[in-house]
Symmetry: C2
Subunit: 341 residues, 2 copies
């Protein structure tokens, strides 16, 4: 497929580009009133995720309204544990909740490694519709949670400040932990491959709770499964975003992926030294900068871009955009990237 | 005053010690049934904080029951904003909540820089009682929150995953932010000096939300105020624990403090390289290790101790002990430090 704008694919591959491509984590939804209008018609967040036409509609909104260089499919990382057999609820203003969690080996026997076309057809359908409607304007980014992050929800049953239940499982039952992480990885690989078959051109693996693990545990329970995913996906460039995992940047730099996402705490220059010049880096403006006036946003965005000059770069925030950020502030960020880079 | 056990003071000063001293963050309370018995008699957490005899009692419990090398006064970092004029409630299982927060400059006019002997007399009285009852068995650690962490509660009104309201204030109203941080710092210095007058022999500054700031913001809004506190406290050794602030370890190493606390993500060997051999390091076993069996606790504790061999060390966890940890697991950690080091 030929794209009118394939900057992000070329940047991910490390090719020379005319300017730095830009998109935002969680751009599909959250800040746009057009998104909230769609959302208001529905019973909840999950209905939107599971209704392909509407998921496609909100996926495309930021392309139309913010002029980003890629669409990221509207979905949630928790669709994977749900397809494996653990349903979740999205509790308004509180976040996800799993009524059942994994506590013992026997709980694993109730889980499956689903065929994505059965268990996750709604996201695949949303990708197909988006693909058709975008008609090559920009590429679509697919995604999944990293195995450790998905594991932590399946054990913990929801968000947590310490994720101590999930970490306790790693220390007290490493055998069960590895078994479950393996199942999540296999499901994720099948799911990402199906996303690619349906039309995504880049995939991103989100390890949202990476920073909660010690270096030793990260190397034993997180990194090998991300590596397995990276090794299995050869069709399109893979991006790994391990929030807070500053202590394994060097190791993440050696994965079979093309792009490495940096959070806003990670210095781009130092990260480049650790990772080398071969990979594309993505990030990493502090999302809170977008609360400032346009002059500050412009200044901080330029400073950020300058710090990434040592190698291929995809501009983004260092975390998902916060819901109360004004769309005009996002536009200021995007325009600055487009004109300055 | 002469102590039967002054290991921690000598280790903090960088002197040679017979073995590594050990204590736990949040040891006063949380894990002991003897603590919960005291707590059950009261209306809530704050009543315990504000009742000197009982605060002293739970301060001493870990010395008796766990054999730690120091007592840390039982209190809360939020007593400081309360004494400044913003009261808080401790909501069971949810955490602190401030009914009023700081939103504009005019809100600052309602705040005071209190005399510690008036606004915070209950903690000072608790220190005096503890001092008398301990009768020199071990030293007492005093503490306060770092200005940025206290600031974030005063703006945000409670805990948060992103602290985006507090960070927004830094970006949108740096003038107000600096004014408030200055007021918090001045209050904290007076409070710590009063704690020292009443008998504490070490003080620790907790920057619990350090890791939420970008390096640039940390250097502008957090570090200078910690530096001011360190420069003002000459009477006893100061410990700085800035959780998550891996990106400014070198700068923290240059502060006028004696000990630097490391969280469990910070590698002791690399941190020692950044900080130099002059300072004492404190930490940093992953608190979740204490969920394991004794053999694993012993093994991981020894590995941790080995990593700190490059300079003076005070053993601790890399975060406060979690409430559901078994006291025997804590004893295993403490005994391993005492016999192995």
């Amino acid at each position: 497929m030929s794209y009118q704008n394939d900057l992000i694919i070329r940047a991910a591959k490390g090719e020379q580009v005319e300017r730095t491509p830009v998109w935002l984590m969680r751009q599909a939804g959250r800040i746009l009133k057009e998104y909230r209008e769609v959302r208001a018609r529905l019973s909840g967040f999950k209905e939107l995720v599971e209704t392909p036409e509407l998921a496609a509609e909100v996926t495309i909104q930021p392309v139309d309204l913010l002029n980003v260089d890629a669409a990221i499919i509207f979905s949630d990382i928790l669709v994977v544990p749900e397809a494996m057999g653990l349903t979740y609820e999205m509790v308004e203003k509180k976040g996800p909740h799993f009524p059942k969690t994994i506590e013992t080996e026997s709980d694993l026997t109730n889980l499956i490694i689903p065929d994505a076309y059965e268990g996750l057809a709604y996201t695949l359908d949303a990708i197909k519709i988006t693909k058709k409607e975008l008609a090559g304007r920009v590429p679509i980014i697919g995604f999944a949670g990293a195995p450790w992050t998905i594991f932590s929800y399946m054990i913990e049953g929801g968000g947590s400040k310490t994720f101590s239940k999930a970490k306790k499982m790693l220390y007290t039952n490493p055998m069960l932990s590895h078994k479950l992480l393996e199942m999540i990885s296999d499901t994720t690989i099948k799911y990402l491959k199906a996303q690619i078959e349906c039309g995504v051109e880049i995939v991103q693996v989100f390890d949202s709770w990476a920073g909660i693990l010690s270096e030793e545990q990260y190397k034993e329970f997180a990194l090998p499964y991300i590596a397995k995913i990276c090794d299995s996906i050869e069709e399109v460039p893979v991006t790994v975003f391990a929030k807070g995992a500053y202590f394994v940047r060097r190791e993440i730099g050696q994965l079979n992926c093309r792009t490495i996402g940096l959070d806003w705490n990670m210095d781009p220059i130092h990260s480049r030294e650790l990772i080398g010049s071969n990979k594309t880096l993505q990030g990493n403006l502090d999302p809170c900068v977008l609360y400032s006036d346009f002059r500050t946003i412009e200044k901080k965005t330029k400073e950020m871009l300058d710090k990434f000059k040592g190698g291929p770069h995809i501009a983004n925030l260092g975390h998902g955009v916060y819901p109360d950020i004004k769309p005009d502030a996002v536009r200021c960020f995007i325009d600055t990237v487009k004109t300055y880079s």
